[in-house]
Symmetry: C2
Subunit: 204 residues, 2 copies
Amino acid sequence: MTGLRERQKADRTGRILDAALRLFRAQGYDAVRIEDIAAAAEVSAGTCYNYFSTKGDLLLAIVSMEVEEVVGAGRAVVEAPPPDVELALRRLIRLYYDHSLNYLSKEMWRKAMAFSIEAPGTPFSQRYTELDAMLVAQVSALIAALQKRRLARPDLKPGVVGQIVFNTLNQMFIEFVKAESMQLADLHRMNDAQTASLAALLRG
Amino acid sequence: MTGLRERQKADRTGRILDAALRLFRAQGYDAVRIEDIAAAAEVSAGTCYNYFSTKGDLLLAIVSMEVEEVVGAGRAVVEAPPPDVELALRRLIRLYYDHSLNYLSKEMWRKAMAFSIEAPGTPFSQRYTELDAMLVAQVSALIAALQKRRLARPDLKPGVVGQIVFNTLNQMFIEFVKAESMQLADLHRMNDAQTASLAALLRG
DNA sequence: CAAAAAGATTGAGTTCGTTCATTTTTGAAG
DNA sequence: CTTCAAAAATGAACGAACTCAATCTTTTTG
């Protein structure tokens, strides 16, 4: 089942991803050439293109892993939500934001988001879009959980509200990564303000 | 005041913009080389870079003109809003959407939005961001006008609601330009549905 | 086990955005 | 009208993403 070819393939994929992440973080996305990644991964430039269709798609593969992690971390919040709409939303969104710079730089986020709009058809662009949908679903699930606990107006459709909340948090995140000087603390403040407004709408 | 140099400069800027718009529409953004634009505008490639910092910024200059037009057209709706929240929002947003493909292709929008995230510091990227803010302000002004006419809950801050509405319409537009097969009619349907939900929240 | 087929790797070559030293044009001063 | 400085245009040269024909490695077949 796991032939040599298969193992080598997985190994090379891992080496390319590791090298790319390390170099992107250290030198910045633009400054790193595919040849540099190839050299660090001990393959040729051409081989990188057998595994990832473009440099942008390779970046999105890395970013997608980060988003997968955050979706995993978010489950805990949805399963045991704080006993208040505002607190609950704030907590989930802070989790997303705080995770965002663990492995990735603002430049990497900018390039990744740009690429996912520019080239929506590549494999990891589609994956990234799926993951965004999973985040929407997760926020929606949180709303639903709060409604079940009678902490939010029961007449609002969780999916609609979830999408609205996601749009807002996503837009603020874009603003954040676009402004190199903006700090996480600033983003938190924006989030707290917006969440307060939204929470007012969502409470009975 | 209008020396030769000044006139030539304006003339060249115009020729480059015209040529770029025509070629981007006819052949697609990626297929058009800076040299092609330069040739059509009867200048050299290097000259294009005296006027626009990158190919992406040249595109954003074109897209910005389109957005300026749409902001102008939107004023009429804000000044004489239809007598219902849902109708009013729907009308303004449809105006935005219907204008969007007058001069620009989906590919151009994708590239433009991508570039504005990727390179937020270039002159026309900043201009584009300003124009987005103007659209937010315009939607907010519409909400305020409706409140004044007692057609919307008076306790909601127009700015907050305007930003939420804009985020939603913008997100749907991104989905639209990402899916080459999606038609304007589909976008209208999405808009009608979302607007109905939002209008329910905004009515007294 | 040998031979052939299938699958991957390779790196030299192509393309295109961008830069920059040089040349040309414009406007001002004498 | 001539001279000079500043501004602008030019296109050759550069660099990096990406392609592809040739080569090598793994798997399958007889």
